[in-house]
């Protein structure tokens, strides 16, 4: 149903030449995957899909297509990234058409794979079940048991802004602490927190997939790539890996929509979102601000107000 409405809208926008291209999702080449799809002809619109594997934040592609009129398929988090980027004047909002999808939360392909012995050769959804098949097995898994951590912690599944919605809005569910990794992290002792962070970042191979997948990482020269001044060495020494991950997270303060694209992109499965979750939580607590929820409200680090809270400055 959602998929059908996405296709119809895409077809219409391309036929009337209201956009140059549509960026959405197509069928992936592997089970449990969808893939970013770029279409320019109305006849191609039927290649667009919608399912629980549409895990990428497509807003990240807007930088590549800033000279074009783009029709973009957005989940709640993706729409917030678009709004946050608009506030940073990355593109003219009138060149964008947002096809919003109230999100069912996305399924973590790697967790599904780990729950199954043997290679998954085929996967599809039936209601709240994911049916996976392989050589000699067929299992029906409850999709809610296999959601991405960032999706479990999501309280804004409906797009914050959309020119059209592909389905009726879903009911937002308040966050339970069990699904909020930042809270679990906060409860650890400083030593435990450091041990966790150290272990996770030690796997980093500096492929920068987390940076490239993130719509908010668009600096023409990232601090890790700068040679003059050189902020950081390029090898795998633990202090360099830790420095990269801390600074990457800090640069997201007041800008992160919590989409989890960084963590999904990581081939070494490094946990990353608890760091940005904590920053998002602090920004919300201190400045009553959530990235990408209000098109007129500048992020706290970009704005100054005489009554800004400052008790955290010690």
């Amino acid at each position: 149903m959602i998929q059908q409405r996405i296709r119809e809208k895409a077809k219409e926008l391309l036929s009337k030449k209201e956009v140059d291209l549509i960026i959405g999702f197509g069928e992936g080449t592997l089970p449990l995957r969808a893939t970013p799809l770029f279409i320019r002809n109305p006849e191609e619109a039927d290649r667009l899909v919608w399912n629980s594997f549409c895990e990428n934040n497509l807003a990240t592609y807007l930088h590549k297509f800033s000279r074009f009129k783009v029709g973009l398929i957005v989940k709640g988090c993706d729409s917030r990234s678009v709004l946050a980027l608009s506030l940073e004047k990355r593109f003219q909002p009138d060149r964008l058409f947002l096809i919003g999808v109230p999100c069912q939360r996305m399924v973590d392909r790697r967790r599904v794979k780990k729950a199954v012995h043997g290679e998954i050769l085929h996967a599809h959804e039936e209601g709240d079940k994911i049916i996976v098949r392989g050589d000699g097995f067929e299992l029906a898994l409850d999709r809610n048991e296999f959601l991405y951590p960032s999706c479990q912690a999501c309280v804004h599944r409906n797009p914050a802004k959309a020119d059209v919605l592909a389905a009726d809005p879903v009911e937002e569910v308040p966050l339970t602490e069990a699904h909020f990794d930042a809270k679990k992290f906060e409860k650890m002792s400083p030593e435990e927190r450091w041990a966790f962070f150290e272990k996770e970042s030690s796997r980093c191979i500096r492929c920068y997939a987390c940076r490239e997948a993130c719509p908010m990482c668009y600096c023409s020269e990232c601090f890790v790539d700068s040679s003059n001044p050189k902020w950081i060495e390029k090898g795998l020494a633990p202090p360099d890996l830790e420095f990269y991950h801390i600074v990457r997270a800090y640069h997201q303060t007041g800008r992160c929509s919590g989409c989890g694209a960084c963590e999904r992109a990581c081939p070494m499965e490094i946990r990353l979102t608890y760091l940005t979750q904590k920053l998002n939580d602090d920004v919300k607590d201190l400045f009553e601000f959530e990235a990408g929820m209000n098109p007129d409200h500048l992020p706290p680090l970009s704005a100054y107000a005489i009554d800004d809270r400052q008790e955290f400055i010690k």
Binding site: L30, R33, P36, G235, L236, A265, P267, M268
Partner: protein, 342 residues
Amino acid sequence: MKSGPAKLEKKDFRPFLQDIMGKYDLFAPVRMAEGVSAYRKIDDPDEVDLSNLNPQKPVKEVFFSQSEVMFRYEKIEDRNRVTSTEEVERERVVLGARPCDIQAISLLDQVFSGKEYTDVYYLHKRQMTTMIGLACNDPLTTCFCSSVEGGPFVREGSDIFLVDLGESYLVEFLTEKGEAFSRNPFLKEADKNDLTLTREIEEKASRKADASLSLDGIDKRLDEMVESPFWDRLQEKCLGCRVCTYLCPTCHCFDIADEALTNKGQRVRNWDSCLSTLYSLETSGHNPRPTGRERTRQRLMHKFNYFPKNVGKIACVGCGRCIIHCPANSDIRQTLKEINAK
């Protein structure tokens, strides 16, 4: 005289490795997190984890580290002291590498000990290493080794070759280097049943590995495609990260940097990736590969056009890592099929 195949009971695996570790530095896949592994130096045999068919990072890392110190220097009073790091001290054994990864090492040999230059860092590690390969009984659907001159039971490049028989391993000695291990006290003679079982497993695995991708003449087709709009389409979904190049068993680009303090420092070489903007950026500020179009083209051209022209072989071994780990599900098999259709 060459020894016939031996058998290693799995219950003897630990002492077998301990015996090796008495004389050699052992490298094998180690679990870093659930489902994530890479080749590391083994301190305790229990660290060895062969459950991941394709550890995220390929075996090339043992010979060509992601970050390798080339030499260290220090100024003490008026004297400069330079310490070489060219040679490793102890002989090494690499355990558990799959045929695709080992085939990739043969390709890297052509690069690092080619006609024009030899790389002492790589070569010394190669000379000091005995390679114990492990057959792939159950190749994944993303594996296409059989399409690129490989196969799940290809023994070439291994000094010793293991086949998992369930309760035991069949152990084949293939070279003189491998032969030196035939007297390990934990090995038994393999019987006829073991050999029959091996043959059955091999036939089944060989049927499973995808050999359907034909790459004959792909270098010629690519010759015609330099200015093709194909690259504009291909680069669209590429995020420009380095996953496919860093996890690739044959990619071998590096960047040299000096890590300097006031009176001492080290020269280091780190893996580099043609998919990054910085890779081709010149000091003047000019970038001859300014967009994803030129960069994705470079990756494909190097593997399927330049490398075949220089070395006579395709620089892809069909391990499937780039397919599994690409954050945007860009699938090299699909790309190659599209090039074939040109």
